[in-house]
């Protein structure tokens, strides 16, 4: 991969992260991060959809009349989301149940429309694909990090496995019920943004 492409892939991880810097896709980040498994599946789904919708729109970009471009983009995204949704239902039914409406809502995830409008409409297919994958992973990283913290402190587990030992509970330790509630996810994302910006001062808005 050329250095430009690597940059496209890596930038969304940190400096132009969809959640912490562009502040897109917050809704699903609050809703599906109670446990790690659904968060991971969600991250994977979004990555696939962003990657392929970017690729397809980029291939079509010269034939789409600009007046109806939004509707064309939506059709592509919706088709991909339905495929992903059906796959999830077929192979990981329990997780699909937990994600419920949020897989369908990937269609309205601002990250997708944002990348299509800002990147895929004006770039070649390969860089577009890489950009989509990068943004999906950037989104997924935050999702998994938030889910890790929420699951660890909220239910004492990591990826469904009990990690907080029983003797701690016997000593009086308790799981933090606030971690299960969406407001805490917002606070955790806020703290991540805080930490990130104190490492990268140039991200701080004037």
């Amino acid at each position: 991969m050329s250095s430009d492409n690597i940059k496209l892939l890596k930038n969304p991880f940190n400096l132009s992260n969809p959640i912490t810097v562009q502040v897109l896709g917050i809704c699903s980040a609050l809703a599906v991060t109670v446990q790690m498994k659904p968060a991971l599946i969600m991250a994977l789904s979004v990555t696939i959809v962003t990657g392929f919708s970017n690729l397809i729109i980029s291939l079509l970009r010269n034939t789409i009349p600009s007046r109806i471009r939004i509707i064309v983009q939506l059709v592509v995204i919706a088709a991909l989301v339905i495929i992903v949704d059906q796959l999830l239902k077929a192979y990981v039914y329990d997780v699909s149940k937990k994600l419920s409406v949020f897989v369908g809502l990937i269609i309205t995830n601002c990250i997708l429309m944002g990348r299509l409008e800002a990147f895929a409409m004006s770039n070649k297919p390969i860089p577009s694909f890489i950009d989509g994958i990068g943004n999906g992973i950037g989104y997924g990283l935050i999702l998994v990090l938030v889910a890790f913290l929420r699951e660890l402190f909220g239910s004492g587990k990591i990826y469904g496995y009990q990690v907080v030992p029983q003797f701690l509970y016997d000593l009086g330790y308790e799981n933090n019920g606030l971690m299960i509630l969406p407001p805490m996810a917002l606070i955790i994302i806020g703290i991540i943004i805080w930490v990130q910006r104190s490492y990268n001062p140039n991200l701080i808005e004037k």
């Binding site: 308790e174 606030l178 606070i187």
Partner: protein
């Protein structure tokens, strides 16, 4: 006393610019101004300096909390022995028993809160904010006596960082830190702050030793369960011989505190009055409809139950998070009391609504102020227009 001043003066150069411990200057400053009135003089412009700075304001609030604290300590011991059926215990023993239960909570609250304050001040290079002086005392007073200490510590740290330091420290916070720490435990560890077993010390531990017929339920808890015959009479509620959070039970002690706050003009009389008024109005409205027994409870009972008065006197009047304008204070207080009773009666999951309603009004205080100021501007503009 002179000896102490001498010691401070001796070590002072170490902490000033160029000194050995220059970095700890803010910490040193905090202790010095805590012990002595600051001798800072304004050197530009004409300013009148009052020696009543933030630290001394806070000290008066602490003083006004002392009656509630002392009664709370005694009450903890009283109910502990009552639950065990031991009734010939001396006053001193009762007080001491309460003291060893309550004191650790106070220490934990202060240590964890001040640690965060000091670290934050050092990082920012600010002076240490004295705002935590009062919060640190309020936090133990709004906790049930059996709350685990590590929860107090986590809740305090959370409240000070997320509720205060994130917004810029003392004077910038949106929410009352003491209430926020209680809300944190309320949502994170609900079993430790609601229910019938936690208000009397060690009730859940020695269940078997408890005398027959003794229940640790608070009067408000009884009301929420529909056990209205178990609510004590008004005088018992007023003096505070009921289980509850440490500082909230005695309305008499709270009124002493209110008196101190009002005559020193540190707590806002307007907020306290309108808060109580809001509660009276809401409970009177409920009285009119009177669909269930809880709604029929008279306003006087509503005000004496639970932490309503404590919230009105010590929590709602927090000068930072309350409304600042004069009319705004009336609106803020009134709505606070209004919603407190509404949450209490309507929501079975939250037996007490004062905490939630004050936190809610904290969010709206800036908005209330904004509209009060805007309407004032408009009125004056109209006056000018009419003259021309």
């Amino acid at each position: 006393m002179k000896q102490l001043r001498k010691i401070i003066d001796n070590i002072k150069p170490n902490f000033q610019e160029g000194g050995k411990f220059e970095k700890l200057r803010s910490t040193f400053d905090a202790f010095e101004t805590f012990l002595y009135v600051s001798n800072k003089v304004t050197n530009k412009g004409s300013h009148i300096r009052d020696s009543i700075d933030l630290k001394r304001t806070m000290s008066i609030v602490i003083m006004s909390l002392i009656p509630a604290l002392l009664f709370g300590i005694w009450n903890v011991g009283y109910f502990h022995f009552l639950s065990l059926g031991e009734d010939n215990v001396s006053f001193f023993e009762v007080f001491f028993n309460g003291f060893i239960k309550v004191f650790p909570i106070i220490v934990v609250s202060y240590v964890s809160g001040l640690a965060v304050e000091f670290v934050a001040a050092q990082i920012r290079g600010h002076e240490v904010n004295e705002g935590f002086l009062v919060s640190g005392m309020l936090i133990p007073l709004v906790m049930p006596v059996d709350v685990p200490l590590w929860m107090v510590s986590i809740a305090t740290i959370f409240a000070v960082i997320i509720g205060k330091e994130v917004f810029g420290g003392t004077g910038m916070n949106i929410f009352n830190p003491a209430l926020l720490s209680r809300a944190f435990i309320f949502f994170a560890y609900p079993s430790k702050i609601t229910g019938d077993l936690i208000w009397v010390s060690e009730l859940s531990k020695n269940k078997l030793a408890v005398v027959d017929g003794f229940s640790g339920a608070t009067p408000l808890g009884n009301a929420a369960h529909g056990a209205f015959d178990k609510i004590p009479d008004l005088w018992t509620l007023f003096w505070g011989f009921v289980p509850g959070s440490i500082g909230e039970t005695s309305k008499f002690a709270i009124l002493i505190g209110a008196f101190i706050l009002i005559i020193t003009r540190i707590g806002s009389f307007k907020i306290m009055l309108s808060f109580v008024l809001g509660g009276v109005v809401m409970s009177s409205i409920f009285n009119i409809f009177a669909v269930n027994e809880f709604m029929q409870l008279s306003p006087l009972y509503h005000i004496l139950l639970g932490s309503f008065l404590f919230g009105a006197v010590f929590m709602a009047t927090d000068p930072v998070t309350a409304a600042q304008t004069s009319i705004g204070k009336y609106i803020y207080g009134f709505l606070g009391g209004f919603f407190a009773i509404m949450i209490r009666v309507f929501n079975p999951a939250y037996p007490e609504g004062t905490m939630l309603s004050i936190l809610l009004m904290n969010t709206f205080a800036p908005l209330i102020d904004y509209y009060v100021i805007q309407s004032n501007i408009n009125r004056r503009l109209n006056r000018v227009k009419n003259i021309n």
